[in-house]
Amino acid sequence: MWTKEDKKNISLSLVLFIIFLVLSIVGYFFFPKEKHFSFEKIPFFEGLFGLVGALFLTLVVKITGKLVSRKEEDYDRYYTS
């Protein structure tokens, strides 16, 4: 389960996240870059995509794990017999 270290790491990474939130909003107004898709026009798209994408990946991984994961002792039964 979550340890004390995790709580410290979460607050540190939130600080980082907010720093880049500020930086990319600065970039949105002062350093515009070429955008090819409509969803890229959302301010701070990358950071939000990082959050949503990582959550989505965790979800997919948990579901896939339920389907394909087996006990390690079963390796021989599947692969070397």
Partner: protein, 586 residues
Amino acid sequence: MIDIIPPNLPALLLGPIIYFFYRKSLNYLALATALLTFILTIKLEPGIYGGFKILGYEFLLKVDALSLFFAYVFSMFGFIGLLYALHVDDRIQITAGLMYMACAVGVAFAYDILSFYLFWEGLAIFAVLLIISARTKVAYFSSIRYILVHVISGLSLFLGILMLWIDYSIITLENYRELFGTIPYFLILLAFVINAAVPPLNAWLPDAYPNSTIYGSVFLCAFTTKSAVYALIRVFPGDMLLAIAGALMAFYGVIYAILENNPRRLLSYHTISQVGFMVCGAGLGSYEALNGASAHAFAHIIYEGLLFMSVGAIIYATGIERIHQLGGFVRKNPWITLYFFVGALSISGVPLTCGFVSKSITIHSASALHRPFEFLLMELASIGTFFNIVLRMGYHIFFGEEKPYTARPVPWNMHVAMIIASALCILIGLFPGIYYKFLPYPIHYEPYTYGHIVGMLALFSGVTVIFFFVRPLIAPKPKINLDTDWFYISISRVIYRFVVKVLEPFEYKYVGEFYKSLVDKLLANLRNTLFLFNDGLLISLNKEFPLRINSIPKKIANIFDGSLLKYLQIFIIAIIIFYLMSLISF
């Protein structure tokens, strides 16, 4: 006469010699040969060369920017890998590594399809030798599966090139786009796709790489998939199916990687994911995308090799190969931790590393071509790569709870190999302008813009927040994950049982009876005749030869002591002498 010396010729000639006369000191010769290959590659001028003929068939070499770019990294990485394995006292691993590199360089330069096919098969053979050199039961079974899969790849390539040769009289490796829809097109595409490990044909890769030795997997991760990427760029640029398959592949590899507990198997799935970027680039087909695929292949060989080397060093030091048993490794050996994190940051594409300047070309070309599906899947794969390698693997191996284990020091040559690879990762990231000059097609792309740097870092900071929230949920557990090989293993098992339980008794009972009279009459007579010949003539020779042995000087007589290795050595020397004589007569 031969126009140029093919750069892989010294390695191909010296490899067997090193094998048959192996001493540990010959590792240095192998290393020097790899360096010579690199130097010969640098000296090449673009053009088409030939002149080397066997039985009237002329082998051709094509040197252009694309083949040079891949040959640089193949030969350079062959040197790094052999340096990493310099302390190994094993003839198979050293020579197979050297010859594997030579075959990869051969694939990059081959212009006529026959020599391309020969080097392609060479890749499979030496990969199998590297896997089996682990000498464990698991490695034996994986190598059998590896052979079966690559025989299918090799045969379908062979059939494809024979059909091209006969039906279309094409004997050179070109862009085959205008053949779309014909049978040879799909046969050759199937061969390339198997070697590039595109799902669902990917299972041989994570099956074989973790079961080799730590040195073997360093060579394995570099050559087979990347020569397939080279072939796809050369032969099938712009096949839209490839673009979609590549993007799905990038995503698929990452999902499986996050489930893994074995560090080398985890990295193997990341190899699949990263090769997905290259396959997607080859499929997108614009000059920028092809450049992106080549640039990513070059960078990928170096950072994936670095990751495999540092994980191999951890396994060498601790003897543990499960992430859940490791933890707090940074306090045992901070240097390996440093190399690992250079590789980890490179593979996820953090600014100032080679992944940043190479991966973003492909992603940018996907958005420039307005393909949101590929763009989003590749971005998701980038997220997963950072999430898994830097955060999950980095946290659970190097930080986190310290587990009870001891770590022994690592030899100097492994350190030097990892330092060279780390330096290359960072130098490419710092000077992308120089790196882009070597790319096969003209490029106008600037990776270091404010928006791009901040965007990537914002993406990764978002991922970091989520990682620490869900860390206990995805912590490594002692589990294995079934891949698509489950299907063909199960089917083969059913077939095997059918043969043993049904066909074999049937054959013994009925078919055997049918042949019994034939065997009794014909074969028994033949055997008796041969037996007579053996008893009469050969035994008498055997009896007489030792009687005359006194007339032979003792030194020559000692050669015939029955050692098979010695006979093979004489055989190899004779072949080389004959070969050199034949060169003179051209």
